[in-house]
């Protein structure tokens, strides 16, 4: 709760922090911290705080729902070999790129991607991709906050006993499927509004909670949230993990449904096709693409979020060790927690065959399969509450991070005060969330946003960042910049990874997307009025952001011209 202290000191602080970037090159280009007399930008209050904030942004529903399903589908334990290779040659280098670009832009007074890109490359393409880096997180926020509200809603229902499946276990799967479909209004558009669904209440509360956190600012809002939410979700996951691993063989009549076999379902190496040897999955290109895609999405790279977060660091603050630590924390949540909880829990009570039917769907795993398992647990409602509570916290720490890039852009692009920028951002985002909440039939609107923006645009932006860093900023120069003030030196050979390996990997992922899904997804958009409306909305929003970026760039050009370009 906020105190009733008069707001004048906070207003002054906000006014200082929200001023436009310094107008004179001499003010802004000094690679130093803001002085006590000059305009001050927001900054993190501690190093561990920024690590938790970045890890919080990366740890989301995918760690607990998407990763286990991908691993079990694409080779089991064998999946982990391309997974870790991708982590080393794709994930961590791109993380370092975003951290370094962010700190570099922050040193020159910019916190948003359009400004940071302009520091490195004064070209119209940089403005276009800058707009894309603002567009992606806010569009993902539009539907992610809806999914987040399901988690909060389910946690509340478990806490209050509103989840009440039939007494016969045979009815559990059908109960949870229909409960979920009713809850999110999947039957028809406008179902939530017509039925006065509690889902709308939770959506409103989640939406407001996210904006409250960002309104409180970087250190007092996002950092403070992540500093308690990350440990809390890890503790909740460890409690559930301890319970799952000590269940043994819950039903003596079904000895094959044991914890060990559940772990085997997830971790045993297996071929991806009908035939093949134990490790044949390693020779399947699809497995490598899935592993690279999983690494890419789990680390939240290509969002512009890490870049914005890193821009609030001091000019000589460490980025390499902090970046690696945040990635490692994300991997802990994904491999050690997600990899040991979700599949074994669902396997114990569903068995191998029913589980195989839902394993490819993150939503199916999280909202159908795992809740069924909790009904067999002693104190199942408590574990249900913990499960959805941890998912809600994971989603919340991710969703608040999605607002920060656009907030930073509005503040520095148009010299808006913090409160005004937050209010304007809420107005910008609300129509998209309303569209998602209204057009719930078969989640058509959500699927359009998720595929075209949450998957495709993400890879496109990451490819641009890698090329910008490796070929325009210069890989060697970039690594030297990353190593400055850092506690962990990036080896020189990473310049080859950054210039050649990572772009090729990203091109392969993008090519695979295009080959497998573009035609199908385009047909889905053209054949469904809701999907088409959503696509038009997205194009319009992107056009608006491009126009805003061009306007902001004109404001910044004076500074860029004065300095002869910041980063060159």
């Amino acid at each position: 709760m906020r105190s009733s202290t008069p707001s004048a000191p906070r207003d002054r602080q906000v006014a200082r922090a929200s001023g436009p970037p310094p107008r004179h090159a001499g003010d802004s280009l000094q690679p130093s911290r803001p002085t006590t007399t000059g305009p001050a930008r927001e900054q993190w209050s501690s190093r561990i705080g920024v690590i938790f904030a970045v890890a919080g942004s990366a740890v989301g529903l995918g760690n607990f729902l998407r990763f286990p399903g991908r691993a079990a589908l694409y080779g089991g334990g064998a999946f982990m070999i391309p997974y870790f290779v991708s982590l080393l040659i794709l994930g961590i280098p791109i993380c370092w790129i975003e951290w370094t670009l962010g700190r570099h832009g922050g040193r020159h007074g910019f916190n948003s991607a359009p400004g940071i890109f302009a520091v490195v490359w004064q070209h119209s393409l940089a403005r276009l991709f800058g707009a894309l880096a603002v567009f992606i997180p806010i569009v993902i926020y539009m539907y992610y906050v809806f999914i987040e509200s399901w988690c909060f809603g389910y946690a509340w229902q478990y806490l209050t006993g509103a989840i009440s499946p039939p007494s016969a276990p045979a009815g559990y799967p059908e109960y949870f499927a229909s409960h979920f479909n009713d809850y999110i209004g999947v039957q028809r558009d406008g179902a939530l509004l017509a039925d006065g669904s509690p889902a709308l209440l939770f959506l409103g509360l989640c939406f407001a909670l996210n904006f409250l956190v960002v309104y409180r600012g970087l250190a007092k809002g996002i950092e403070a949230l992540c500093k308690w939410a990350m440990p809390a979700l890890i503790v909740a996951a460890l409690v559930i993990l301890a319970r799952v691993l000590t269940l043994g063989t819950p039903d003596p009549g079904l000895p094959e449904r044991s914890v060990l076999n559940g772990l085997g379902f997830m971790w045993n190496p297996k071929p991806t096709g009908a035939a093949g040897g134990t490790f044949s999955a390693l020779f399947d290109p699809q497995v490598w693409l899935e592993a690279a895609g999983q690494i890419f999405f789990t680390l939240s790279v290509g969002f512009g979020v890490i870049m914005t977060y890193a821009s609030y660091l001091g000019p000589d603050d460490d980025v390499t060790l902090a970046g690696l630590t945040a990635a490692a924390a994300n991997e802990f949540c994904e491999v050690c927690l997600g990899g040991l909880i979700t599949i074994p829990a669902a396997f114990l009570f569903l068995g191998a065959v029913p589980l195989s039917h839902v394993i490819g769907s993150s939503i199916g795993m999280g909202f159908h399969a795992v809740p069924v398992s909790f009904e067999y647990f002693p104190f199942g409602h408590l574990f249900g509450f913990l499960w959805f509570g941890l998912l809600a916290l994971a989603a919340l720490t991710s969703s608040v991070s999605m607002l920060q890039p656009a907030l930073a852009f509005l503040r520095e692009g148009f010299a808006l005060g913090h409160a005004r920028a937050v209010a304007l951002l809420a107005l910008l985002v609300a129509p998209g969330t309303a569209l998602i909440a209204y057009c719930t039939e078969n989640t058509a609107a959500l699927d359009v946003m998720d595929f075209w923006v949450g998957s495709t645009c993400l890879v496109v932006l990451a490819l641009f960042e890698v090329l910008l860093f490796g070929w325009i900023f210069g890989a060697e120069r970039g690594i030297a910049e990353a190593n400055r003030g850092s506690d962990l030196r990036i080896p020189a050979f990473f310049s080859i990874v950054i210039r050649f390996v990572a772009p090729l990997f990203l091109c392969a992922i993008l090519g695979a997307f295009a080959w497998q899904s573009f035609a199908k997804q385009a047909r889905a958009v053209l054949g469904n009025p809701v999907a088409l409306t959503t696509a038009i909305f997205l194009v319009g929003l992107f056009g608006l952001l491009v126009a805003l970026t061009n306007t902001a760039a004109r404001r910044w050009r004076e500074r860029l011209d004065d300095s002869g370009g910041y980063g060159r």
Binding site: Q13, R16, R33, P34, T36, A40, Q43, W44, S45, S46, R47, I48, I51, G76, G77, A78, M80, F84, A219, L260, N261, L263, G264, W267, N268, P269, T278, G314, D316, D317, D318, L321, A322, L324, T325, A328, A329, E331, F332, V335, C336, G339, G485, D487, L488
Partner: protein
């Protein structure tokens, strides 16, 4: 669970846990740098928030 599955699981968990231990120990053992005036970044930042 097969032997290969157990080995892959153990190696994966060990790698991730050791990576976390290495990173967090290094982060927690590294003291904040002091600038010329002797203030740590967090001390300096707290001045801004007064």
């Amino acid at each position: 669970m097969s032997v290969a599955g157990f080995c892959l699981m153990s190696l994966s968990l060990t790698f991730v846990v050791l990576l976390n231990i290495y990173c967090f120990v290094r982060v927690l053992r590294t003291k904040p740098r002091r600038d010329a005036a002797g203030a740590t970044p967090s001390e300096e930042r707290s001045d801004h928030n007064d």
